[in-house]
Amino acid sequence: MSRPEQKISPEVTISELAIADTVWTEKVSWVSLVPRWVSMVGLLLLFLALWQIVTSAGIVSQLILPSPGDTIRDLGFVGRNLISEDYMLVAFWVTAREVFWGFILALAIGVTLGVLVGETTFGERAVMPYIVAIDTMPKLAFAPLFVAWLGFGIMSKVALAAFISVFPIVVGTAAGLHATDENARMLFKSIGASRLQTLIKLKIPSGLPQFFTGLKIAAISVVSGAIAGEFLGGGQGFGELIRVAASQLDTPRVFSLIIYLSALGLVMFGTVSWLQYKFVFWHRTSNNIATKASH
């Protein structure tokens, strides 16, 4: 076979030559062809299998790491206890109340401070440095103080939970108010908008994405704050149950309590995400357009 195609005379167009269409397949990762839930379940099963091997082969003592079987059995026990409204449900509601009120308190203080810092020169110049200074402190170290001031009851846990989660809200609010586009501010100035009008009609809506980013971080850390408060200051919540189980080396119980506790964090995070979806609807639509365009 000779190769005359190497020299195509200019008079001959490509369509006149009997060349096959240059159709070729793009390389696609096979993982992207698998549905997402299959990948997730697959990874979980792989993880459980490794866990089972490590524990049943005696590589790690069962006192330190319980087998997946033991943990799942204990998950069932704790689940039944929660459903039958026994002492664990009481403890769960104690922690849930701490988380809820801690978050509400953090939200109220965080938004107030955030607006002060983000909107006023005084706040930015005088208040912000102190907020940064306190934010850099190890906040858990304040737990004994909260116990001393507010006692061993629910209030000291609410205070610690709020204290830990307030800073992302302050920063998110202030950063959101600062994020306003320079042109947008000039436009508002040129149409003679007052400071309040600029805040309500421009700065608050354009700052909502940053605000919600801070709020999401707060929604997760508020659970840690409440649990840390219970570890360090007693109480009747889930944190106390975890502490007791750990002191008895009941590691399956610790694991299953943590897993149920994560439901609380999920509810908090999910609620904030849903609120963001509702309030910052324009981000949602622009994302939709981006996905439409890529298809």
Partner: protein, 266 residues
Amino acid sequence: MTSRVRAETAGSSSRPVYELANVSKYFGERVALEGVELTLREGEFHSVIGSSGCGKSTLLKIMAGLTPPSKGRVMLSGTPVLGARPDIGMMFQQATLFPWRTTVQNILLPVEVREGRAAAEAAKRRALSLLELVGLKGFENTYPSQLSGGMAQRAAICRMLISEPNVLLLDEPFSALDEITRDFMNMELQRVCLERNASAFLVTHSISEAVILSDIVHVMSARPGRVVSSIVINLPRPRSLDMVTLPAFGEYISEIRNLLDTGAFL
């Protein structure tokens, strides 16, 4: 140093809208603007052209009352400019539409801010007819994320016109658009100005854009920012895009280019 207006032509009989006398702006030691003198008359279209940092945007901000001059006097329709004025309309390089408002709500924003929600509701019909004027009929209830760049700038034109300003201040309004769209938008801009007998003051980087649109082109140089020359463009109105092939057009272009080149090395 005053600007050298070469000819007081083109209807010096019509009433002046903007009068700037010896306007200067200092940022500390730096002289951003030095001794700008210019008069914008009713129905005239002026452009300012110059390299980046020559103070042309500062000049526009001073004229709009967004920032005070360090020296000199700015008069608009016979009264001194001492802050933002409702009788001007502004446009920027970005459309600056707000994504949480529909197109018509964006257009009604100046009315809502100045006169309240009820007045904005009352002005809705005017907004719809403006949208029709710029070819955006049917888009009033869509959000800006669904508009293309050119469509968004057309909506921004509507927002500028909703309060029926006498003067339009334009800060490179179409420079983010592709050239084909920009040419089209410039012709739209001319049509809007001629229809309403509005005066316009345009800041631009594009020499041909300045020449095709303007009655007078002010050429600025940097450090200190000042008007080195004001060139009267004697081309008939309405201008059309094919005028770029006229010899006179080319002469204006090269004249301005020469001025910019000498200015750049001063």
